[in-house]
Symmetry: C2
Subunit: 443 residues, 2 copies
């Protein structure tokens, strides 16, 4: 028998394995965010990773079309791995609208695929964490979406952030006022780059590729500058005036921003956690009202960690009936990176809080029994070393796993509870003593 | 401008959308199972849905090879959507074994893809829920894997089930004793069908396609019959004797089953929840020791809802060094179907426990405020209707969503808490009264 050739264990370029430390952090984060979405009554749904290409392609920009993982399946169907979770939502609500009814609130945590050039922190398979409020147009929805952003970040232990809010009616109205409505799409895409290319860069591009006059471009920059970072909350627009207010569309944007601010105050959102920012553009063409991005105070290099906006016609690919809504999306990868940056503790691999160390072979069954007891009576996550290996091996397992509390069993008896760092050590009289000791330490 | 052609919203054959009711149930189940895995110290990991075909193919049976979603990506790489979560685990542990060390316990909930002929309840994209204990050979691991099965089912509210346990050494040794070792693979695949084709069917196939003599086949059936369903727990093997016990391999199987039973008793697993069953074969060739399946009492038509076994050489595709382990897998789809069958309550679409009904436009902000208050002070999941729509529309939203408790606000005041079915109604004096009332009802 010839020896089988071994295959090199490796992943595709741009695809990423998560180490247990990262996977545990990610699971805890998604689980926390899901609880927050559910606390607001958002439903969850599931759609396949693979769909008909024509279903996904309808709304894809030419750039995304080049990045699709598209192929012909065994049944000669033209299929594509989903590149976001919004197009599948549009397909889903079009398909089941009679069963679901409107309004419909859904969240989803799922993976999407784009064959982008791999960069640091950007992968060809990535996780999205989206929440959308469909089929209602009132600003109550916009307010709730922002409440979810705040509640989500708080639940993740993040309190220092600022949601930067704008409204598409403002820039649309401003373009009308300037008489450059035909250039609005290019204007918005240029303004969207302000954090990358600075105000001066935006000015040059507005004059250069967009084709505004210097005067027009300067007046756009002056509008953007009228909402400085120092003005937070409802104060952002107090006393705001501008000649463009005579334009109905512009005035509507300002009025919606004012009302949204009042609604945020009514639900107890601190004024330090949001501000009006006319530089927030969001590149996508489909936004029509409120748009927002969220930055972490002191960590602007992570970019926006939660963004979104209002759209009027989610389902245009699939039906004539318009469905409007507002949605947001947490940037999980960025949030994970930010939480790692902020945390002083090193990430932990194992969810276990306690390891039962087995002193000798005849104590193996007792070790398993003690583990079961701590789990049921103590509500503790307990790992039990599976055999009476050398103590050094068991301790090195605890270290690798990041488990700090050790329970020792030997000679068929629990003997001691110890912290791995030596900060605590207590002999155990019996099982009840053991459970009480561990519970008091783990709480 | 010509009108854009609308695309029909539809999914691929064999791919399935989950309605919110199903998705909520599934999320709760996977979250419950994940908590159980973590309570035993299992780590979680993530691997990509898409891998090099050569990485996934190594261990795939010819049947599975025909079912792969395989294609050439933009970079001319031969790639495939994963068809299970075991091969990616083998690749992962081979790739990172120096970082991870052994033993290593991991669980994963994830989707896999097979282009099978779609059947009722079988989809081309499906979710697996796997847990594996790698790098330790002692029966302590086997015991822990079965503890996880029991704890998982209990946590899901399922108490009436039986884990049917066998050991590959038993049938291997029996084949040696019969002098038909060369036919063992075919024997096991035939025995595996016993629940489908009955004992008589197995007998005929053992004689027919496997090629045993009638006497040999009858002696296999007699062995299988020696562990009747009525014998549970450690009793299953009490006083067991058989001439094949003279074969070392057979005796090893019996001895491991006995020891496993003792270990299960030591960790408090009820004897009603498992039994030895020599008919449990598990089709896969890679199992080498303990194998198990789990059936729900009274619902045999659902088949096994948790199965698994011990293997000696998980990583043979990738490295010469052998890594052994034991693993199990919960059948989520079957469990969901069984829980639906058992439940007397109709499935619920929304996680919200309360809907705030908005009586008039000027109460919209108060409604949002009351929602925020109930979430923070009351720890309740609260949906707030986003605008002052007709009460009938809001009540029909509550009904569709399966939300039973209603809070009414009108004229800028909370007015009442009501159950949708009319079983409860209480006027509210103020916000504190409201929160207390809702908490007492939702607890």
């Amino acid at each position: 028998m010839t020896e089988k050739k071994l295959i090199e264990p490796r992943t595709l370029k741009g695809f990423n394995d998560l180490m247990p430390e990262e996977a545990l952090l990610k699971r805890r984060m998604t689980s926390t965010l899901a609880s927050v979405f559910e606390s607001f009554g958002f439903c969850t749904i599931e759609t396949p990773h693979l769909e008909f290409t024509e279903v996904l392609m309808g709304d894809a920009s030419p750039e995304i079309q080049k990045q699709l993982f598209r192929f012909t399946d065994q049944g000669e169907r033209d299929v594509t791995l989903r590149f976001d979770l919004t197009v599948p939502l549009a397909r889903y609500i079009s398909q089941y609208k009679n069963v679901l009814g409107l309004p419909f609130k859904r969240y989803v945590v799922g993976n999407a695929f784009r064959g982008e050039k791999p960069q640091k922190g950007r992968y060809r398979e990535f996780t999205q964490c989206d929440f959308d409020f469909l089929g209602a147009t009132g600003l109550g929805c916009d307010c709730e979406i922002l409440q979810v952003v705040v509640a989500g970040l708080h639940a993740l232990g993040i309190s220092e952030f600022c949601i930067r809010i704008n409204n598409r009616h403002v820039m649309n109205g401003f373009a009308q006022w300037l008489g450059v409505e035909d250039k609005i799409a290019a204007m918005i895409q240029t303004i969207d780059k302000i954090d990358k290319i600075s105000a001066q860069g935006v000015l040059e591009e507005l004059i250069g590729s967009v084709g505004l006059s210097r005067e027009q471009a300067e007046s756009v920059l002056s509008l953007i500058g009228s909402t400085p970072p120092s003005s937070r909350g409802a104060d952002s627009l107090r006393g705001f005036g501008h000649p463009a207010m005579g334009t109905e569309e512009f005035a509507r944007g300002i009025s919606e921003l004012r009302e949204l601010g009042e609604r945020l105050s009514a639900v107890g959102i601190s004024e330090h956690q949001y501000r009006v920012d006319f530089s927030i553009a969001r590149g996508f063409g489909y936004y029509t009202g409120t748009v927002f991005e969220t930055n972490l105070d002191g960590l602007p290099e992570f970019g926006s960690i939660c963004s979104g906006g209002r759209y009027d016609n989610l389902t245009q690919t699939f039906q004539k009936e318009q469905i409007s809504g507002i949605g947001g999306s947490f940037g999980l990868d960025r949030l994970m990176a930010a939480l790692k940056e902020r945390s002083t503790r090193s990430p932990v691999r194992s969810p276990a809080q306690v390891l039962v160390v087995v002193g000798d072979e005849k104590s193996e069954r007792l070790a398993a029994h003690v583990g079961a007891l701590l789990r049921s009576a103590g509500q503790v996550c307990v790992d039990v070393f599976p055999e009476a290996a050398k103590i050094k091996k068991q301790l090195s397992y605890a270290e690798r796993s990041g488990i700090n509390l050790l329970v020792f069993v030997r000679d068929g008896q629990p003997t001691a509870v110890e912290a791995r760092d030596g900060s605590f050590k207590k002999p155990c009289a019996d099982e009840a003593d053991l459970v009480a000791t561990v519970r008091s330490l783990v709480k």
